[in-house]
């Protein structure tokens, strides 16, 4: 049996621009009789989405912000209708899109349970039967007769979730709400979800938490810009998705660098010195001389400083500093410290700082580059203009990752 079947579903929205007509003044200013007054820009939140979800499966929907996940969920829930295409739902459906929608702040938790329950489609009797369960699940025994406005946001969310989960539908749609409440409550939610699965109910689950999607779901659907990019086994789809996100990150890192170079041409406050020697550009490359700004952990990095000496300079010193994005200095050195002496430079050339292995943990890093006199007087100092990103499959913490291994030995050392 198929619980949810959707065929070539598209959803069109009007774009909200300041060209909108929302008051009568606008209407007259723009003119009622001009044809373009009522034309609005549109965009497609979903395009040609088709999939089927069999009964008893838990399906995760992933995708970056604005990819259409929530729109899809609202279409499934029946809150909005699709512009084109067909949606077939078999069974009672309940959507946890916003917890506590319809709570009235002045009324007590008890009254709100009844109101919210009825809004979600329960009968009075059903609510009565489940009342104690709901209160216990939310952990609000002591506050159930206080007005909801006195609740903390955690209590509010818990009550909303407790009601919604007790609606007991055949199909449950969940929009990014597992992040509700403290550790203990989250465990309760997960237990409830597992119980749901055991009882053969169908779940559709939108989340950015790829870890829990992989753990919980039988199948994953990945949306990007309203298009279904991939669907299938969680591991496979999530891998594709993370690769895709990484390629974007790489592009962004490149763009960041371009911006830094543009900045260099202007009079940046991050740059000072006599300019007798100028660092005209900085380029990062990997082992294969390919320019890039996003490195995997352990990759070699070459930092190339293009310089232009406006006159002959004796005994210059080139230096670099690597900083974490919170300002902590990771490493700093220069040619003088390293005992690498340069007789003199004139005209253009490159100074190259090679790192054999980037032993850094995941994150973004900033670069200082400089050329100065041996006594420290800067010719050109460029502070935190450039950046690069280290990506790692291992989620260790800190700054520096020493090459290391673990072993177990029985003898005392």
């Amino acid at each position: 049996m198929v619980a949810i079947q959707i065929d070539k579903v598209s959803k069109k929205f009007r774009k909200y621009t300041n060209k909108e007509i929302s008051t009568i003044k606008d209407l007259f200013v723009r003119g009622i009789f001009r044809k373009d007054t009522f034309e609005t820009e549109i965009f497609w939140a979903l395009r040609d989405i088709s999939f089927a979800i069999p009964n008893g499966k838990m399906v995760g929907i992933i995708g970056s912000n604005g990819s259409g996940k929530s729109t899809l969920l609202k279409l499934l829930a029946g809150i909005m209708g699709p512009t084109t295409g067909n949606i077939r739902i078999n069974g009672r459906i309940s959507a946890l899109i916003e917890l506590g929608a319809g709570f009235h702040p002045e009324l007590s938790g008890r009254e709100n349970i009844f109101i919210n329950g009825i809004i979600l489609g329960l009968s009075k009797k059903e609510i009565q039967d489940r009342f104690n369960n709901i209160v216990k699940f939310a952990g609000l025994e002591d506050f159930i007769d206080s007005p909801v406005k006195t609740y903390s946001s955690g209590m509010y969310m818990r009550l909303g979730f407790a009601i919604a989960i007790n609606v007991d539908p055949d199909i449950l749609l969940i929009d990014e709400i597992l992040a509700v409440g403290d550790e203990e409550f989250q465990h309760k939610c997960l237990n409830k979800i597992n119980e749901f699965k055991r009882r053969g109910k169908t779940l559709v689950f939108v989340s950015h938490d790829l870890g829990s999607v992989e753990r919980l779901c039988d199948e994953v659907i990945w949306l990007a810009n309203g298009v279904l990019k991939a669907s299938g086994l969680p591991r496979m789809v999530i891998d594709k998705y993370t690769d895709y996100v990484a390629s974007f990150e790489e592009e962004r890192a490149f763009e960041n660098h371009q911006r830094a170079l543009d900045e260099l041409r202007k009079d940046s406050p991050n740059r000072w010195g006599t300019k007798e020697v100028e660092i005209t550009g900085v380029k990062l490359t990997d082992g294969n001389k390919k320019e890039k700004y996003l490195f995997e952990y352990g990759e070699p990095i070459k930092i190339v400083l293009n310089y232009k000496a406006n006159k002959r300079i004796e005994d210059p010193v080139f230096g670099i500093g690597i900083f974490r994005d919170d300002g902590v200095c990771v490493y700093g050195t220069n040619t003088a410290i390293d005992g690498f002496s340069i007789d003199a430079i004139e005209g253009i050339g490159n100074a190259v700082f090679s790192i054999e292995k980037a032993n850094l943990v995941e994150g973004s890093y900033l670069l200082d580059v400089a050329v100065h006199k041996r006594d420290g007087l800067p010719y050109d100092y460029q502070s935190r203009l450039y950046s690069f990103i280290i990506r790692s499959k291992v989620k260790d913490i800190g700054i520096y990752r020493p090459d290391h291994s673990w072993s177990m030995i029985s003898d005392e050392v």
């Binding site: 609202k74 829930a77 959507a95 002045e106 489609g121």
Partner: protein, 259 residues
């Protein structure tokens, strides 16, 4: 269309719950609570009586009782229109987040104000008693007027609430139009104050005219209302209801996206 109206009936528990929520929350936390549904009209009555009966020396007997006969239905009408027009916009959290039949919201606005109206009736009867106005059999028509007013008001709120989603000015315009209607309808003054040659003209223009005078006839004057006026009112009310509901239906799909 008739199926949708039937839907509303199917959701009666929901309507009932929301009306209760509305009523409970209105006075919850205020010291005098539900007494306000008496005190508000009482206060208005005192002000109008002072102005029209004392300052302007209107010689009418039992003016406060007369005033209530028109004022209370008017308050039901005007608060329903104000609340109802804003109902879809204000109920955005429901329409956007829950599968929810939108037409319930304007209906709830009209119904909860109707209950408020019914609750304020004792004060009307108290004043009829104080001024020794006899209660006649024509009062049996009261439920019919109630139903007519409900249909008329609900139809209007369907129309206004749907439009208000797209055109925010509606709420502002309404305040002014209601003020105009309040003074053009014979609430503060008996219908005889209007020169006879204009009377029919205003009656046709303003369906509240026959409504309010009918209330005054059955409660204050102790006679049957004008049949022609009442028939016209019934016709207009049903017409307004169907037009209002069709407009509402036409805009319905846009609510979840626009509010």
């Amino acid at each position: 269309m008739f199926r949708s109206i039937f839907e509303v009936f199917r959701y009666r528990v929901l309507i009932q719950t929301l009306v209760l929520r509305e009523l409970k929350s209105r006075y919850r936390g205020s010291f005098l609570g539900f007494l306000w549904s008496f005190l508000n009209p009482l206060f208005l009555m005192v002000v109008y009586t002072l102005v029209f009966s004392v300052y302007m020396r209107n010689p009418m007997e039992g003016y406060p009782a007369f005033l209530f006969c028109g004022l209370l239905p008017w308050l039901w009408f005007s608060t329903s229109i104000i609340h109802g027009a804003a109902s879809i916009r204000d109920g955005g959290h429901l329409i956007k987040k829950v599968v929810f039949p939108a037409e319930i919201l304007p209906v709830v606005a009209v119904l909860s104000n109707m209950i408020n109206f019914l609750l304020s009736l004792p004060i009307l009867f108290l004043f009829l008693l104080i001024f020794k106005i006899p209660i006649s059999l024509s009062i049996l028509l009261f439920p019919i007027l109630l139903v007519i007013q409900f249909i008329l008001t609900t139809g209007l709120t369907f129309f206004l609430s749907a439009l208000n989603v797209h055109l925010k000015d509606i709420e502002q315009i309404l305040n002014n139009l209601l003020m105009l209607a309040f003074f053009l309808t014979p609430i503060l003054y008996p219908v005889t104050f209007i020169p006879e040659k204009y009377r029919d003209f205003f009656l046709i223009l303003n369906p509240l005219f026959p409504l309010v005078t009918s209330y005054q006839d059955i409660l204050f004057n102790g006679r049957l209302p004008n049949v022609i006026g009442l028939s016209y009112l019934v016709f207009i009310s049903i017409l307004v209801f169907f037009i209002g509901y069709s407009v509402f239906n036409k805009f319905r799909d846009t609510f979840a996206e626009e509010v």
